[in-house]
């Protein structure tokens, strides 16, 4: 493995460890499944929608918002306290720091989403609903949620690179992170047939890649 990929892997695993220790991820990992269970207690009737499906939809909104804020505040804060100096005097490209952070945050989010859906699935199965049909019903909402989270996290990352104020980055991420992540839902609303899902998932893949590239280009030019 050459130096580039080796160092990207080191950074990714390192960031994963960091996010693992951050309170936000702990809140997500414990909080999302807990909210799922609580929702069932408080609202037993979800107008016919299984809890699994509801949970799969909900994680995209909550997880995406939290992740966007986490990314924005972490990156702005670390830039301002010159954390990246000690990394960038080593054989690392600036963009790798962002890619590693993004992938690590996304990994944490996906784990949280799957945990929450698993809790929903367990509750529904306990109530006698067939597991296989639950999974089928939850698959599309879950994929859309994961795509939305990918977009929201990338928006947070872009704001983290752009702004020199933690507060400004956080506030804009709350507002715009969630709003912009809804872009993945648009094909499902306005198109019919099998293609909308493909387009939605493609959007969930391409928009974050575009935002990551833009962030990396800005970060490259920024005076640290």
């Amino acid at each position: 493995m050459n130096t580039m990929w080796r160092n990207l892997a080191i950074l990714y695993l390192d960031e994963l460890r960091g996010f693992g220790r951050s309170r936000v991820m702990l809140v997500l990992w414990i909080g999302l499944p807990l909210v799922t269970a609580l929702f069932r207690l408080l609202q037993p009737n979800l107008e016919g929608m299984p809890l699994t499906t509801f949970t799969a939809l909900m994680t995209g909104s909550i997880g995406g918002t939290l992740s966007a804020v986490l990314m924005a505040t972490t990156i702005t804060g670390e830039r301002l306290s010159k954390v990246y100096d000690l990394f960038l005097v080593r054989p690392i490209r600036r963009g790798w720091l962002l890619v590693a952070k993004y992938l690590a945050a996304l990994t944490g989010l996906f784990v949280a989403a799957f945990l929450a859906v698993a809790v929903g699935l367990a509750v529904d199965a306990f109530n006698g609903l067939p597991a296989l049909s639950l999974i089928e019903a939850a698959l599309v909402p879950l994929l859309l949620s994961l795509s939305a989270m990918a977009v929201a996290t990338a928006v947070g990352l872009l704001f983290g690179v752009l702004f020199n104020s933690v507060a400004a980055a956080a506030i804009l991420s709350v507002y715009l992170g969630n709003q912009l992540s809804a872009i993945v839902l648009l094909p499902m609303v306005f198109l019919t047939g099998a293609w909308p899902l493909v387009i939605a998932l493609g959007t969930g893949l391409l928009v974050p890649v575009g935002l990551l590239l833009a962030s990396a280009a800005i970060f490259q030019r920024k005076t640290l």
């Binding site: 160092n7 010159k82 954390v83 000690l86 990394f87 960038l88 005097v89 054989p91």
Partner: protein, 311 residues
């Protein structure tokens, strides 16, 4: 083998931080980079480390422009930044492990080097402590430790003694002296001139982005004609008259308290040729001499003479 800064200039918007900075270092040089806050010291260092990429002029190592040898440069330099932060969730040893891995170290070699760095920087007792709980002095030692892990041959230290208590400053100065092994380049900046006196083999004086002087400490003192000073102390509070020294290359005689005097020699006068004559004069006047010392003019005097800031 050399590091050359060639007409290096850098502007931040309308503020010109560096103007045509040019000097060359040879292997083994310990460069004291002096200048007040905002003079451009950190900017120069950050260009050499690759943290600043948009500048005019060039920096070359062994004849190669640093822009064409990024990865090699990063393997060769160790950087102690002035105020770099750490991700505070890390422990001391975890931070060192990550930085070591990113510098290409692994396995037992990495663990051995981490152990040695912890020992050398007196961080062994806090190896498992979270960085959030470290004092300012300990963080500075951690910055040193990460810079030394991969045994770089170019060490760049930006205000390395800032914020340290006297004991830590002494320890760090000793470490810098140890690291100056005659092969390694060491560049360290400070706005406190006294810190350079016993460390630097070369001095670059930077003022408002311009190199005012570059040379050896001795050369700079001689160039500015700052004469040596002889300190005389009496055991009996004897008074000393300036006219005793008529005919000797003495510029002025300055009383300091009741029994201490400073004889300022004319610039360029070798003190060893003047000292016997001074002792002879004191003996002729039955002066109860308790001590006689040669005081070197400080780099601070050179700096003030150069920039006119002492006027």
């Amino acid at each position: 083998m050399s590091i050359s800064f060639n007409a290096l200039s850098k502007a931040y918007g309308k503020i010109q931080a560096l103007r045509e900075v040019t000097f060359t270092l040879e292997p083994g040089d310990v460069l004291g980079y002096i200048g007040p806050n905002g003079a451009g010291k950190s900017t120069t260092m950050r260009i050499l480390t690759g943290l600043i990429r948009d500048y005019q002029g060039s920096v070359s190592i062994d004849g190669r422009n640093i822009e064409t040898m990024r990865d090699e440069l990063h393997r060769r330099i160790g950087f102690v930044p002035q105020e770099a932060g750490f991700q505070e969730w890390r422990t001391v040893s975890h931070a060192l492990r990550t930085f070591g891995q990113l510098s290409g170290l692994s396995g037992q070699d990495l663990e051995r080097r981490i152990g040695a760095a912890l020992q050398r920087l007196d961080l062994k007792d806090v190896a498992t402590r979270r960085i959030a709980l470290l004092s300012g002095g300990m963080r500075q030692r951690l910055r040193f430790a990460q810079a030394l892990l991969h045994d770089p041959d170019i060490l760049i230290l930006d205000e390395p003694l800032n914020g340290l208590d006297p004991a830590s400053r002494f320890q760090m100065k000793k470490l810098i002296q140890e690291l100056a092994d005659g092969k390694r380049y060491i560049i360290f900046s400070s706005h406190i001139l006294g810190e350079m006196e016993d460390l630097a083999t070369r001095i670059a004086i930077l003022h408002q982005g311009t190199i005012k002087r570059f040379g050896t400490p001795e050369g700079l003192r001689a160039e500015f004609g700052l004469g040596s000073v002889i300190e005389i102390e009496s055991s009996r509070r004897d008074s000393l008259q300036a006219d005793w020294f008529a005919g000797l290359p003495v510029e002025r005689c300055q009383a300091q308290g009741r029994n201490r005097y400073l004889l300022h020699l004319t610039g360029g006068t070798p003190v060893e040729t003047c000292m016997p004559a001074v002792m002879g004069v004191l003996a002729r006047h039955d002066f109860a001499l308790s001590s006689l010392r040669h005081l070197q003019p400080s780099l601070e005097d050179v700096y003030l003479a150069l920039t006119g800031e002492g006027a």
